[in-house]
């Protein structure tokens, strides 16, 4: 097996995990699959997939600017991969957004409901337009493919080539706008974003860092594709990118520290809090160390150093987006956001999908426009073995996806494993917290959580039983509270019958009491004289209403759910049957068929108690 096949297999596996989680996310909602709460409404999908994704795709416009605007032809070999990465990156951003939006099918709403005071509105438009520009920029590469040589397509091809420079300029403009505006999103929350990251010039920081990150991402990509496709790395070209990146990172550092100094926030750096440590770590690996290292020509021309630096910048800048989007955001005390494995798997799946499409394009289009390399690959392709169908000896042609059987096995097995791993809430949706069920007690006054507030009320079971039996009949009376046919039934709240008990009952109606006690003359009946009339200065309810309070141990109710009809009835019958079985020495007495018609013919039979009317024996009391 070659390494490309292994890499592709791993990517297919990640993508398949995402497929299963995607099903759970869209059928059961955000609460069932993510760790998002009202406290942290934005999580990994915004901070990594959207903010990180857009920044990582910045290489597209940076390299396009270098080649077409600044005429630096030296960088043209990496232009096509950079544009493709940008296109796939932005597609990934949009897909990530579809997962994160609560109502993803309304993603187009921004095109008709205009709200130009919203930063997000601007970002949405820029991303939409830029994605179109990227598609048009990449289209000529696709249209070179021998399968796509139709006249109409070729006319479009010519038109697009003619439009290249205007498209590139539009792309640069749109990128400048939305790269910076992703930072502007946080301008409105000076009270939530930590002071080390919040600044009025955060849009400028986002733009400059995106340029630096874009350059280093292109470098990292060159390493990856040389490893996958056996290209020779052009050290000279990468060193040029690294030099530019170093300058950009220095500018970034300067803006950041001058900004901190101007807003007299440098003190935060040495606060000793986890935020200051995080900030120092982030700034060191995202900019400081790589900028310094890459400013030396010797280091720039060493591949291992280049690789390490680009990795540092990519990791550090993504960390920066995570910090701004999640980590440095104020949360209420004790609340921590950590993404669920399902959130992480969706992010991984989207990245893997993009990588698979990239590899597909690299295998099928002229992505690397180096003539020498191309000759080599053509030579190589000439000696590749054609594939024949074994029995018929028919040439199968080039398959669109090679090794399709390997990938199918991976996809199917990973899907089934993931489906088995899904937590129950991701399969059946939101569930109430499981609460212990107390055994039914058919005669006494019990404590139930009738209003579902976690506080109990006294409930006279016998009284309810008798009253309901009179109204509804024997069986239906029980069924009013103990449901027979609703599995996993929710609690039967008191208010479902007593509409006046809808609300919690510890309300003191001041007006009512005032009226009942003849108005303002009666204040001192409850409130102590001469003190301000507050809750503290008044007497307790029990001093007038003794009967309202029974002497019982106070405490929280420990169960919510009325037992099901079946369990409630079984609890009444079975203990006695077991007792009688021992006394009479008949092991059949506690068995199901002793009471129930067997086999049941109709649903009515299921409940029929066949022996009730003709007890064949007299009940014997164990104690006598």
């Amino acid at each position: 097996m070659n390494k490309r096949l292994i890499v592709k297999s791993i990517l297919w596996a990640f993508a398949s995990v995402g497929l299963v989680v995607a099903w759970a996310r869209f059928s059961m909602g955000l609460g069932a699959t993510t760790a998002l709460t009202d406290d942290t409404p934005w999580g990994l999908w915004i901070a990594f997939d959207v903010m990180g994704g857009v920044a990582l795709a910045a290489g597209g416009f940076v390299i396009a600017a270098a080649v077409y605007i600044f005429h630096l032809e030296k960088y043209s070999p990496i232009l096509r991969p950079a544009v493709l990465t940008a296109f796939l990156g932005y597609t990934a951003v949009v897909i990530g957004l579809l997962f994160d939006l609560g109502l993803p099918w309304r993603i187009w709403h921004a095109t008709i409901f205009w709200q130009h005071h919203s930063v997000l509105f601007e970002v949405a438009w820029c991303v939409m337009l830029y994605l179109t520009v990227l598609a048009l920029e990449f289209a000529p590469v696709a249209l070179e493919h021998p399968y796509l040589q139709w006249p109409i397509l070729q006319r479009i091809h010519k038109l697009l080539k003619w439009l290249t420079v205007p498209l590139v300029i539009t792309g640069i403009m749109l990128s400048t706008l939305h790269q910076s505006s992703l930072g502007s999103l946080f301008l409105i929350m000076p009270y939530r974003l930590h002071a080390l990251w919040y600044t009025p010039i955060i849009p400028a920081l986002f733009f400059v860092s995106a340029v630096g990150l874009g350059l280093m991402m292109v470098t990292l990509e060159a390493f990856a594709s040389s490893w996958l496709f056996h290209h020779k790395i052009k050290t000279d070209l990468l060193a040029g990118l690294a030099k530019a990146a170093s300058i950009v990172l220095y500018i970034y550092l300067a803006i950041r520290f001058v900004d901190l100094a101007v807003h007299s926030k440098l003190g935060y750096l040495f606060e000793g809090s986890w935020q200051s440590a995080l900030f120092l770590f982030e700034i060191s690996i995202s900019a400081l160390i790589p900028a310094v290292l890459l400013s030396f020509s010797k280091i720039r021309h060493r591949l291992d150093a280049l690789f390490a630096c680009s990795l540092m910048v990519v990791f550090g800048m993504v960390l920066n987006r995570l910090n701004v989007g999640i980590i440095a955001i104020e949360k209420s005390p004790g609340n921590v956001y950590f993404p669920t494995w399902m959130e992480i798997s969706i992010s991984l799946a989207i990245v893997s999908g993009a990588a698979l499409v990239y590899i597909f394009c690299a295998e099928n289009f002229r992505l690397f426009t180096d003539e020498k390399e191309e000759k080599k690959s053509i030579e190589k392709r000439q000696f590749e073995q054609p594939v024949f169908d074994a029995p018929s000896k028919v040439w199968l042609g080039d398959s669109l996806v090679q090794n399709i059987s390997v990938f199918s096995i991976i996809v199917v097995s990973v899907i089934s494993i993931t489906a088995a791993m899904l937590p129950s809430k991701a399969i059946s949706g939101y569930e109430r917290d499981p609460v212990p069920v107390r055994k039914a007690v058919g005669w006494e006054t019990i404590k139930i959580d009738g209003n579902r507030t976690g506080e109990f009320v006294l409930f006279n079971h016998k009284e309810h039983e008798q009253r309901l039996e009179k109204i509804h009949g024997e069986r239906e009376g029980c069924l009013a509270c103990h449901h027979a046919s609703i599995p996993q039934d929710g609690p039967t709240g008191c208010y479902e019958c007593h509409s006046d008990m809808h609300l919690s009952s510890n309300i003191f109606d001041h007006e009512f009491h005032q009226k009942a006690l003849q108005g303002n003359q009666s204040c001192t009946q409850c409130h102590a004289e001469g003190q301000s009339k507050s809750r503290e200065s008044s007497i307790a309810c029990t001093e007038c209403h003794q009967s309202m309070f029974q002497k019982i141990d106070t405490g929280k109710a420990d169960y919510y759910i009325a037992r099901s009809y079946m369990n409630a009835m079984h609890d009444l019958c079975i203990p006695c049957h077991q007792e009688q079985s021992q006394i009479l020495g008949d092991e059949n007495i506690p068995k199901c068929a002793f009471c129930h018609v067997h086999p049941p013919q109709t649903n009515e039979d299921r409940m029929q108690k066949k022996n009730v009317d003709a007890f064949p024996f007299s009940i014997q009391n164990g104690e006598n």
Binding site: R106, F113, I172, L177, I188
Partner: protein
Amino acid sequence: MKGILTDITKCVGCGKCVDGCTAANDLPPGSVKQYQTRDGLSGERFTSVLHVDKNGQNRFVRKQCRHCLEPACASACIVGALHTTETGAVVYEEGKCIGCRYCMMACPFGIPRYEWAEAIPYVRKCSLCYERIKQGGAPACVEACPEKATIFGERDELLAIAKDRIDKHPDQYIGKVFGEKEIGGTSVMYISDIPLDFLAWKPDLGDNPLPQYTWAALNKVPGVALGMAAAMTGIYWIIERRMKLQEEQEESNA
């Protein structure tokens, strides 16, 4: 402009406002604990009563949407689903919302809540009972208050009442109407004998309306766009021309 004034010194913490709100908005009874932050608000509760300890004495502070005069949530909303109305109420249009939850990030008081448990979720928050006040009624919470601790009326009149109470009993109140000026003023205001900093993410919000912070950057967008496009076209043209001249020179030299 309508508003609500809540007097913390009068509130006895009965919670009737919460019940009134629950009934008026047709919210499920009882409490749903999952996804609920500790202030008691959730997708199913638009107001809550917070218990605050003041030197051993209880104080009760009702939390609800402040209905800012220049709301951050409305300025953040990508489609204008959240917007102010002629009554001062900040309301939410379900039909427009795309579920980006930027409003929840933007609100300095952390008011908007999300229906996390639903597969088709919406943002939920107090609407100042917009439908009721439009027909001349009062919000359900105000109607339910037995102590007249929370009152409804024109914002200016409420401000006058608040200042009057503070002037008459300067020893009983902190000399400030909470919500008069912060972040450009809010329609739901408080007077209190305890500081109410905990209602927002950070104490001392300042008097600048939050949308100004965004607008400072957003109004530069057309300039930046045109400037960038012009700069790129210019650079392209100059370098292109230089290269042509160079080529011509080389040709003539040859």
